[in-house]
């Protein structure tokens, strides 16, 4: 999405300006630090823990982290005796990979279909809109469970693609509709603007109009939806994990931890549920802040 924005020469300064504006906001700096932290966890989990998250010892189960950040298990252990810090840290990569994959592909599908249907209208719009209706009517959970049951029983060797692929596919397939709807609305609105007519008068092709005039207008509503979608993807993934069709063990993710944590949350082990939740909230907050600031910074009228 930002590809088309950044591909042109004068925009180099646009992005530079945007960066300069954003650098001055403390909330943006905080959000950037959170994202940096999460990203580092995802890429280099061993920096944060030297424990193996799959090495679980039953008699060590449910050790409260009474001595925070010290001792054998800095964040205690979970219900199966696995080191909780290691589980969280190693669960970051699948979580982020899943969320980013789903978001990127949802946006790609949603933007493409939304722009095509909004811009061309007529039968193109009719087909895409009806497909949209069908996908909106199918409940996410039901669709995802049905689809994922096809992948069940297939042994996982633990590779990232194999771990994340099936749930990402399911969540993308039933998650692109919101982006499509927003983009379609923006396209319909934009294609009748004077500057689009002016561009047509200057001999612009349809493709040029879509990329240059319609797409940039879709950036604002789409960036507004991304952070909340990100949160709901992780929550949906957690629900899939409860049902046993999400990220498959031995791999773990924040969603899996949330799901497992609920079992113990009432029994005085609130941290098993609370820590992944706090991480999730912080990540969504960081994305929302940066998305918001980016939108402001990119709007030439607010500069």
């Amino acid at each position: 999405m930002s590809e088309s924005l950044s591909s042109e020469a004068p925009q180099a300064s646009l992005w530079k300006d945007a960066f300069r504006t954003m650098r001055r906001r403390p909330d943006v700096i905080l959000a950037a630090l959170i994202l940096l932290f999460v990203a580092t966890m995802a890429v280099f989990p061993t920096l944060f823990t030297d424990k193996d998250p799959t090495r679980c010892i039953g008699r060590d189960a449910r050790q409260r982290p009474d001595t925070w950040f010290r001792g054998e298990h800095p964040l205690g252990t979970d219900g199966f005796g696995c080191d909780f810090a290691a589980t969280i840290v190693h669960g970051t990569r699948p979580t982020i990979a899943l969320a980013v994959t789903v978001i990127v592909f949802s946006i790609l599908i949603g933007l493409t279909l939304g722009i095509l249907s909004g811009y061309y209208g007529g039968w193109v719009d009719a087909i895409i809109s009806r497909a949209l209706d069908v996908f909106i009517v199918i409940p996410l959970m039901m669709g995802a469970i049905l689809l994922l049951s096809l992948f069940r029983g297939r042994g996982s060797s633990g590779g990232l693609l194999e771990t994340v692929g099936p749930p990402a596919l399911a969540l993308t397939l039933f998650g692109w509709m919101e982006f499509c709807r927003y983009t379609r609305a923006v396209s319909i609105e934009t294609k009748n603007l004077d500057y689009v007519t002016a561009a047509r008068c200057l001999g612009a092709k349809d493709r040029r109009i879509m990329f240059r005039h319609v797409l940039p207008n879709a950036v604002v509503p789409v960036t507004a939806v991304v952070p909340t979608t990100l949160g709901s993807i992780i929550v949906a993934e957690s629900a899939l994990a409860v049902l046993g069709v999400g990220v498959q063990p031995p791999a773990t993710s924040w969603g899996v931890l949330l799901a497992k944590g609920t079992e113990w949350a009432g029994g005085g082990y609130i941290y098993l549920f609370g820590l992944p939740l706090v991480l999730l909230i912080l990540t969504v907050f960081a994305f929302a802040t940066i998305g918001d600031a980016l939108r402001d910074a990119l709007d030439p009228k607010l500069r």
Binding site: P10, G203, P300
Partner: protein
């Protein structure tokens, strides 16, 4: 400025360089609204030659903008439909061409300037980028050269300090400067015909005069055909060579600028001229044309102007007046054109 060399044959197959630059003949446009078809343009005929300025004057709803949209090929369809007539560029009927040919015609032969330059420029891109993009997409110019061309054009249309303003955004320009940017964009690909649809309506009076002067000067320098669409006869006087007066989708009168102002041959034109405020009638009440323009869905029978006409007789409500020549290059649509022309009515 040096005379520009235009290559027409490449982009417009079948072009006959001896044929008139742009001819519109018996153009008919209808709008399909709630099952019925409303006529917006009912047989417009006019021509623009190289180096000539034609002004199309008319009230709101007289069909002047629809005519220009039909010529450009940007009519919203549906609801608009061209139901008859021809639009010929160098003898090639554009209405018979496919969408791709029409697009290249828009890119290379006919340019357009809009009324509201702010909304006709994309607020997200700098003006230099928007102008330069035209060179990049149609001429394959490199990014650096495109920027230089943009600066050159901004300079041409009289934007001071073009070098620094090329990177600014449309909202950073004043109304008049914005219209200059719009003109620069329309000129970028060196069109043979420029259509200016009420280019000064959104501007204040002093700026209006500057923009009109600029258009006139560019038209002369580049030897373009200029179609100026306006509702302001005063604007027309300094600039146009030829004037076509439209009313209810028809051309009521067409003549050279001097003939129109000095010897109008149509009661409508005469009434319009009387309604222009003048210094020697200062303090007096302005003449008005009573009534309203007709609803195009329910046009009066006979001559469409007869309910508001001071010269109307019984005949006018029954019979459609023919479009007749009253003098060389002077045509009028009125049963009494001759008498009005001789000032006997």
């Amino acid at each position: 400025m040096a005379q520009t060399l235009r290559v027409v044959g490449d982009t417009l197959p079948g072009a006959d360089m001896n044929a008139p630059l742009l001819e519109v003949e018996d153009l008919q446009v209808e709008f399909a609204v709630r099952g019925s078809r409303i006529p917006a343009v009912r047989g417009a005929t006019f021509a623009v030659e190289q180096g000539q300025t034609l002004a199309i004057v008319g009230e709101s709803g007289s069909g002047k903008s629809v005519t220009s949209q039909a010529v450009m090929g940007i009519l919203d369809s549906p609801p608009g439909h061209i139901t008859g007539g021809e639009v010929r560029l160098h003898g090639v009927d554009l209405l018979q061409q496919d969408a791709e040919t029409r697009r290249t015609v828009r890119a290379n032969h006919i340019g357009m300037v809009f009324q509201d330059a702010l909304s006709a420029l994309n607020p997200l891109w700098s003006v230099g980028f928007q102008i330069g993009e035209l060179f990049r997409m149609h001429r394959g110019t490199s990014r650096k050269d495109a920027k230089l061309k943009a600066i050159e054009l901004l300079d041409l249309v009289g934007i001071p300090d073009a070098k620094n303003r090329v990177g600014q955004y449309p909202h950073q320009f004043s109304g008049g400067m914005r219209q200059r940017v719009m003109i620069a964009m329309a000129l970028a690909l060196d069109p043979e015909v420029l259509i200016a649809d009420e280019p000064t309506t959104a501007l204040d009076v002093t700026v209006q005069a500057q923009i009109m002067r600029l258009l006139r000067q560019i038209q002369e320098d580049r030897d373009m055909g200029l179609i100026l669409i306006t509702h302001d006869l005063g604007v027309v006087a300094d600039v146009a060579d030829e004037v076509a007066v439209m009313y209810a989708g028809r051309i009521m009168e067409q003549a050279g600028i001097h003939q129109i102002f000095e010897r109008p041959a149509n009661p409508y034109t005469k009434a319009l001229l009387k309604a222009i405020p003048r210094v020697d009638t200062l303090g007096q009440e302005l003449e008005v044309i009573s009534g309203l323009p007709p609803n195009p869905g329910a046009l009066p029978g006979g001559c469409s102007f007869h309910p508001r006409c001071w010269a109307a007789e019984d005949k006018c409500s029954i019979e459609d007046p023919p479009y007749e020549t009253v003098a060389t290059g002077h045509r009028s649509r009125c049963h009494f054109a001759e008498e009005v022309y001789r000032d006997e009515r």
